[in-house]
């Protein structure tokens, strides 16, 4: 029977659980709202993941993981274009540029990031093609799905909570003017300092995230902490248009407004 359907009816958590329990081998294709993802399994274990048009080659993963610079990545691509990922990995290890553990850790993290992202996809079509495996030459790993399901579910709950707390990334942040609140007295980590350095009503939260190369979850997590510490508040960004007012509530000048409010006060006092 074809394993395909809609994520609305069968979630990513349920899919991974099924693949794990049934010890399935094959590739799960998910067409999400804006991009597609391919995740491969062998005997119910995660072995490979690819997201949309992202560069999922070894060079792309090493660049993303900070193991090579952009210049080095370009050089590798130029000089080793005829080598597949496995051959390239061996070449880098044998040449003493990288060790096997760091390459595998980088790949592992890359695959996990993709799979954790999928947990937040509530819409999309999925299809599981039994027996279909990643292209020959790609480096695969073996990761137990139980821990991934538990961590993914935890992140999903955190994500939902953070989305409630920081619902709109197009809003900006400003420092709270509160006596005794001094940002210098607070122990912030590197990520928090990076965000704090951009706090300004001119910058939207989305722009701060982009400048710091943070995803939605990461920026929300930091902003949530700063909000709860009472260091910043969410404000309307400078220049953001104020919603137009409806016609039946006619705009009035300031003098009229004061008179109007005073009349309202008198009336409510007399109720």
């Amino acid at each position: 029977m074809a394993l395909k359907g809609n994520l609305r009816d069968f979630s990513v958590t349920q899919l991974l659980n099924l693949i794990n329990l049934a010890r399935k081998t094959g590739t799960l294709t998910i067409e999400g709202p804006t991009e597609a993802a391919w995740v491969s399994f062998r005997d119910g274990k995660l072995i490979y993941a690819q997201l949309g048009n992202e560069d999922g080659t070894l060079v792309g993963i090493l660049l993303r993981g900070g193991l090579v610079s952009a210049r080095q990545a370009r050089a590798i691509k130029t000089h080793a274009s005829d080598k597949n990922d496995k051959e390239l990995g061996l070449l880098l290890i044998n040449a003493g540029y990288l060790v096997q553990q760091s390459i595998l850790a980088s790949i592992r993290q890359y695959f996990l990031d993709i799979v954790y992202k999928l947990f937040n996809w509530g819409e999309g079509f999925f299809r599981f093609d039994a027996g279909v495996l990643p292209p020959e030459g790609r480096i695969t790993i073996r990761l137990n799905l139980e821990n991934i399901i538990i961590e993914g579910s935890r992140r999903m709950r955190e994500w939902e909570k953070l989305k409630d707390e920081v619902p709109n990334l197009e809003m900006a942040l400003d420092f709270v003017e509160r006596p005794g609140a001094n940002i210098r007295d607070v122990n912030l980590n590197v990520e928090e300092w990076k965000v704090v350095s951009y706090v300004n009503p001119k910058n939207t939260i989305a722009q701060i995230a982009k400048a710091n190369q943070m995803n939605d979850l990461e920026i929300r997590r930091v902003v949530y902490g700063l909000l709860h510490a009472g260091l910043v508040e969410v404000v309307r960004p400078d220049g953001m248009p104020i919603p137009a007012r409806v016609k039946q509530f006619k705009p009035i000048d300031e003098g009229q407004r004061v008179s109007l409010v005073n009349r309202l006060i008198q009336r409510i006092r007399s109720l």
Partner: protein
Amino acid sequence: MQTVKMVVTGPFNAGKTAFIQAVSEIDVVSTERKISSEAERIKETTTVAMDFGRITVDDDLVLYLFGTPGQKRFDFMWEILSEGMLGFIVIVDSARPETFREAKSILETFRAYAPTPYVVAANKQDMPDAWDVEDLRIALRIDSKIKLLPCVAPDKESVKAILLELLYSILEEMNEK
């Protein structure tokens, strides 16, 4: 005829309808329906579109009070209701801490819709489980400059006090400009 409006918002069962009923000169035009969700069956009915109350000031001026639906699935109504408002009141059920997070979220949403003055009414202060107003301020992370006022929605005097404080805030804001 000049018409102005204020919006009364807050989570499900916070007391928005009772608040408007306490001061409206007309029977509140309410769009209440029986509650279908078991999880939300705290009361028999809830507002699904809006509550609508009126206070006539004089021949030329009428104040309308619009109550927003409290259940999250009707939040598409909020932006429509917030258009052109003079100010807004966020009603919080002081005795149900499980609704505080949602109250804060609603407050932030309305602040984003329009930069108008607002006050927060800590409702159901007559109930034994009601949180102290200052504890609520901390729990909801409300700036000390924002008025957070005790309230018992069915009590007319209590509701009048909230409306007056909002109007004073509106006046203060005008004077600052």
